[in-house]
């Protein structure tokens, strides 16, 4: 005895898209949490090479960042094509390194200052002459812990 007649719809069932905005919001919140708003306007081409021996920089507050690369095409008539150093938002000379380091150092509590690391984001195309000059300036300023920023290279992808 069939008490319930099967309802027959005369249209094929459509996929409900009511939850699409929810999915988008989830993606959005994911991005808001994971990424950091780019605080500096990078004026140099700085594509870091790949490496396998990577260490993660733990505490962001103990890290200051320096960009080394050739100026982007729109800045080349002002800054030239040779590799330049960028500190914060502007292209800087090597002489400005100690001031930059000191400004960052004062923001860090005394006990943690030993752990300050400088992250160098150097473009693969830059020649070592300039990099060595920057390293010498860092040594003279007493900043010995460095981190050459690099992307992970898997074993298989080759050199």
């Amino acid at each position: 005895m069939a008490k319930f007649a099967k309802k027959r719809s005369n249209t094929s069932p459509t996929i409900s898209t009511a939850s699409l905005p929810d999915i988008i919001f989830i993606l959005l919140f994911f991005f808001m949490v994971v990424v950091k708003l780019r605080e500096t306007n990078i004026k140099v081409k700085s594509i870091t090479p790949t490496a396998t021996e990577l260490t993660k920089l733990e505490k962001k507050s103990l890290v200051n960042t320096m960009y080394i690369g050739r100026p982007l095409t729109q800045y080349q008539n002002v800054y030239g094509t040779k590799p330049r150093l960028q500190l914060n938002d502007k292209i800087a000379d090597l002489a400005e390194i100690p001031i930059f380091l000191e400004r960052h150092k004062v923001k860090v509590p005394e006990v943690q200052r030993q752990g300050i690391t400088t992250s160098l984001k150097i473009d693969g195309d830059v020649t070592m002459g300039f990099v060595t000059d920057v390293k010498t300036s860092l040594r003279k300023a007493g900043q010995l812990k460095l981190n050459y920023s690099a992307k992970k290279r898997t074993e298989r992808s080759g050199f």
Binding site: T17, L20, P21, I24, F25, L27, L28, F31, M32, V34, V35, K36, L37, R38, T48, P49, A51, T52, E53, L54, T55, K56, L57, K60, V63, T81, K82, T117, S119, L120, K121, I122, D123, G124, D125, V126, T127, M128, G129, F130, V131, T132, K135, T136, L138, R139, K140, G142, Q143, L144, K145, L146, N147, Y148, S149, A150, K151, K152, F159
Partner: protein, 181 residues
Amino acid sequence: MGKSRPSPEINASSMADIAFLLLIFFLVTTNIVEDKGVLVRLPQWSEEPPEDLTLNTRNVFTVLVNGQDQLLVRGEPVKVQELKQKTKEFIMNPAQRPDLAESSKEAIISLKNDRATHFKQYLTVYNELKAAYSELWNEQASKRFRKETIDECTKEQQAEIKRDIPFVISEAEPTAFGDEK
């Protein structure tokens, strides 16, 4: 007096569009922070030139990189892919060859670039040298303490391994033969 008319619902179909817009905004204006890299410790700066240590040349592993990004290891041209294996063989000297290191404690790697060497090649070379030590340390960790990697060992065990195979890479001032662009 009959059912009250259902209140008109706000059309929410444009919510998805707003969400898309915000998402694209974030994708464009931010970047996933790249905070990994190769950790390096520079030597202290001193005004005096480094003292001329009378080192036994068998204990020094010279790696030269020229302006064309080519490697010369102890006088022989070498491909970057072979560097790690050669370094490991030099440090450990399993066959006790007289031209390789006397012991892993005394092995020193000397790295010299040219001012025209590209940073990419420099980092690859440095990475391979670091990887050689890393692999040797992990091999010791598994041999002595039956752990997969040195990071799984206790602080004392790590110190012991690093005392027997110390990480000594000496970087010299770069030469200026190449055309530094």
